[in-house]
């Protein structure tokens, strides 16, 4: 089904409201609005989109992170918000760069209660710190885990296994 809103319409409105905080748009094959914004403005932006009379972006689909180990020091982590306006059948993604040293961002649990577990998951796997989150603890991995497994410096494979000789696996 066609969306009642166009990407340009929403992007222009965002630019008018938030000015330089809205960065470049990224083209993706799914044609959703995909835009980089500054980390400080994310909370205000989501709140604004939620309360907007026409856009009504009132559904949070997902929050996740990405680790880009080859980026500049302050752009190594990316946080991604997938948002959905059910009434307009319009989806968008907001992305923000965070520094790897201290990836902190304000929680959006005050806007979406659904963000609670999603932010815990993002903390669990990427170590992103959500300021003012009511209970920022690991959600899926065991509590004793001492690293963030989706960061690329950690091996996906279990390192305690001794029966895997790399020579037999061609690596």
């Amino acid at each position: 089904m066609e969306s009642k809103l166009t990407n340009e319409q929403v992007l222009t409105a965002l630019r008018e409201q938030f000015g330089d905080a809205v960065g470049q748009e990224e083209q993706t094959t799914d044609h959703y609005l995909n835009v980089y914004v500054t980390a400080e403005s994310v909370h205000a932006m989501i709140e604004w989109l939620y309360a907007h009379g026409e856009f009504k972006v009132q559904f949070l689909t997902n929050i996740t992170g990405i680790h880009f180990p080859d980026n500049d020091e302050d752009q190594k982590m990316v946080i991604v918000y997938h948002l959905h306006s059910l009434q307009n059948n319009f989806r968008l993604r907001l992305k923000a760069y965070l520094p790897i040293e201290n990836p902190s961002i304000h929680t959006i649990t005050d806007i979406f209660s659904a963000a609670n577990w999603l932010e815990r998951e993002t903390y669990d796997f990427f170590g992103i710190n959500f300021v003012n989150h009511p209970n920022l603890t690991r959600i899926l991995n065991e509590d004793s885990m001492d690293y963030f497994p989706m960061r690329k410096e950690y091996h996906l494979e279990d390192e305690t296994r001794q029966d895997k000789d790399n020579r037999f696996f061609g690596r």
């Binding site: 991995n141 065991e142 091996h155 996906l156 279990d158 296994r161």
Partner: protein, 186 residues
């Protein structure tokens, strides 16, 4: 005198109405033919285990009519499926709650070695947290293989010495896994 027969190396004397044999043989036979399994089934292998329970393969034929979902009343822990590291303490607790004598059957590649899930979140074999008696290979093993594993367990049960659970070797085994026990090992 009645007929004297030798079964294994146990001599049995048959009079009409009774038979003489060794106590541990009787207990072994009774135990092995009335095992109460506790299915700890977590994923695809669990489905295969359910097939073994259902009428086509019917492990009730081996004296396992009743699945015990309470560890207190179970003597055979059947672990079928992927065990994540987060689940490992739970599995261990279930094992500790079972009373002696108890046996463990590890069904499938995942339970035995982590299987295809060589990853940070999956336990690389349940023998890292509890002792295992019989491993069944396969991904998933067919019900015939599971039954074969169960029959191997039965053979173990039938021939286990009544003193094994008090032996220093058994104490060492449990100590190895840091499982609390009150065996004095003498």
């Amino acid at each position: 005198m009645g007929k004297i027969t030798a079964e294994g190396n146990v001599e049995a004397i048959n009079y009409e109405g009774f038979q003489l044999t060794r106590l541990d043989t009787v207990i072994g036979a009774a135990r092995s033919n009335s095992l109460w399994p506790l299915p700890f089934a977590t994923s695809c292998c669990g489905i295969e285990y359910m097939a073994s329970m259902a009428p086509n393969y019917d492990i009730a034929r081996f004296g396992m009519e009743r699945m015990s979902f309470s560890p207190r009343q179970a003597d055979l822990l059947i672990v079928a499926g992927t065990i994540s590291k987060k689940l490992a303490p739970v599995l261990r607790q279930v094992y500790e709650q079972m009373s002696e004598p108890k046996w463990v059957l590890s069904v499938g590649a995942c339970a035995s070695s982590g299987g295809i899930f060589d990853t940070y979140s999956v336990l690389q074999g349940i023998d890292r947290v509890i002792p295992v008696d019989v491993y069944v290979p396969g991904c998933p093993p067919r019900p015939e293989q599971i039954i074969d594993g169960i029959m191997n367990i039965q053979a173990l049960v039938k021939h286990e010495s009544l003193r094994r659970r008090y032996s220093p070797e058994y104490k060492d085994l449990l100590d190895n896994y840091n499982i609390e026990n009150d065996i004095d090992g003498k």
